[in-house]
Amino acid sequence: MSIQTRTPDELGQDYLEIRGLTVDFDGFKAVKGVDLTLLQGRLHFLIGPNGAGKTTVVDAVTGLVRGTGLASYRNQDLLTMRSHQIVRAGIGRTFQTATVFEELSVLQNLDIAGGVHRRAWGMVLARRGVPAYVEHALEAIGLTELRDKPAGTLAHGQKQWLEIGMLLVQDAKVMLLDEPVAGMSAEEREETGELLRRIGQERTIVVIEHDMDFVRNYADVVTVMHTGTVLAEGSVAEIQANPQVQEVYLGRQVEAAATTEVEEGDHA
């Protein structure tokens, strides 16, 4: 792939750069000096054992926990900004346990997600019709039929789609997705993967995931974290072949199963 050979600067300003990110919880360092460069147009996957610090990295970048080091996007240092400012800077995220506004309808959820780009005065005006970008997002996430249902009544997986839809409406340039396909069936994973691929063209997307099949099918770049540090980075094949990664994360069974057909069909 050609983009991989270009340096970030050649791509203009659109990349998220993390340098020496450290998060300290009263003495326990959950993240220790992580360096990541996340480029536009690539599906970037973040994997690693439970408790490796993946979510914490995202938390730090989105202002939910305090981190030290550098996280810059378009020349702004995210670590010094507050959550809502970070969102306004174009960085959106989803949560490991889906959180949507339960009493509002799907449509309203999407609509208020677009509020960042409205003027304050526009806030006191009523909504007239459905804005085109909301329609698009609805279609993209396949919830058009459920648009008037309260979001609280959606199933787990549907809520996750809705969250992605809200990021689309927000027009987030960087999307940090924490286990977006957890609990989805194989086909749904596929749909989600395709969706991410489609919208990933002009965005920077980071996905945290444990489902190796999903990673195999959609990852452009994989970063493996372990005990707060980056253990390895590379293509899926490289990662799977890495003995350290096998040891702490994939396990021997997967290694063995990777060769059998049954396992391949597991999530397909």
């Binding site: 054992p49 408790g51 490796a52 286990e179 609990g183 190796m212 999530h267």
Partner: protein, 226 residues
């Protein structure tokens, strides 16, 4: 062991399950599969007693427990691992386990299954990572020494090598014959390996039912594609 007879249930006015019947034999292991929003979690919540039925019955050991509260069902041998990595966030990992039992040996045994938890015993559960919490959730339920174990997507958010470990534990426990299992799982391969029969549930109705095992993967996939 566990039987749901003609259960209709839902939230408020909306019905989610329509006349669903399933059965788990003594020592048997059954998988329930279906798409997002099909009603799998709802089914399990009815079985455990967190959601009242609108119609139908829930039987445990042949006895009608439809009106029993969850805690009473748990005392009769039901164990439940809910979806969503739930824990008691302000209690430490150890306290989470102590809620069930303070027996050292029993705790040691489950910690052998989930060694990652050992280093986290004094950390509050609310601070754990998602996968760590999910491991804690399974460990905590195993401590109740259930005869009937109900698992809602237990491997969600868990790293691959631990998933394998969980699979081994479930297989081991069912093989001994003193545990029945009802498993909701998206990983078809995993689900079928760990169980002997399956139900496919679509839009709150059972659409397919059959014998499990790795050979059934294609059948299930076909049933779910409908």
């Amino acid at each position: 062991m566990l039987e749901l007879r003609g259960v209709t249930a839902g939230y408020g006015r909306t019905k989610v399950l329509h006349d669903v019947s399933i059965q788990v034999d003594d020592g048997g292991a059954v998988a329930a599969m279906g798409h997002n929003g099909a009603g799998k979690t709802t089914l399990l919540r009815v079985a455990v007693g967190l959601l009242p039925v609108m119609r139908g019955q829930v039987l445990l050991d042949g006895e009608d427990v439809t009106r029993l509260r969850p805690s009473a069902r748990v005392r009769r041998g039901l164990g439940y691992v809910p979806q969503g990595q739930l824990s008691f966030p302000q209690m430490t990992t150890l306290e989470n386990l102590h809620l069930v039992t303070t027996d050292r040996a029993a705790i040691d045994e489950v910690l052998d299954t989930f060694p990652a938890l050992r280093g986290l015993l004094s950390r509050r559960a609310g601070l754990l990572s998602g996968g760590q919490r999910q491991q804690l959730s399974i460990a905590r339920t195993l401590l109740t020494r259930p005869r009937m174990l109900i698992l809602d997507e237990p491997t969600e958010g868990i790293q691959p090598n631990v998933v394998a470990e969980i699979e081994a534990v479930i297989t081991e426990l069912t093989r001994r014959g003193d545990l029945s299992v009802l498993l909701v799982e998206q990983h078809v391969g995993f689900a079928l390996r760990a169980t002997q029969s399956y139900y496919v549930i679509e839009s709150g109705r059972i659409t397919s039912h059959g014998v499990g095992g790795p050979g059934a993967v294609d059948d299930v996939r076909a049933a779910m594609a409908v």
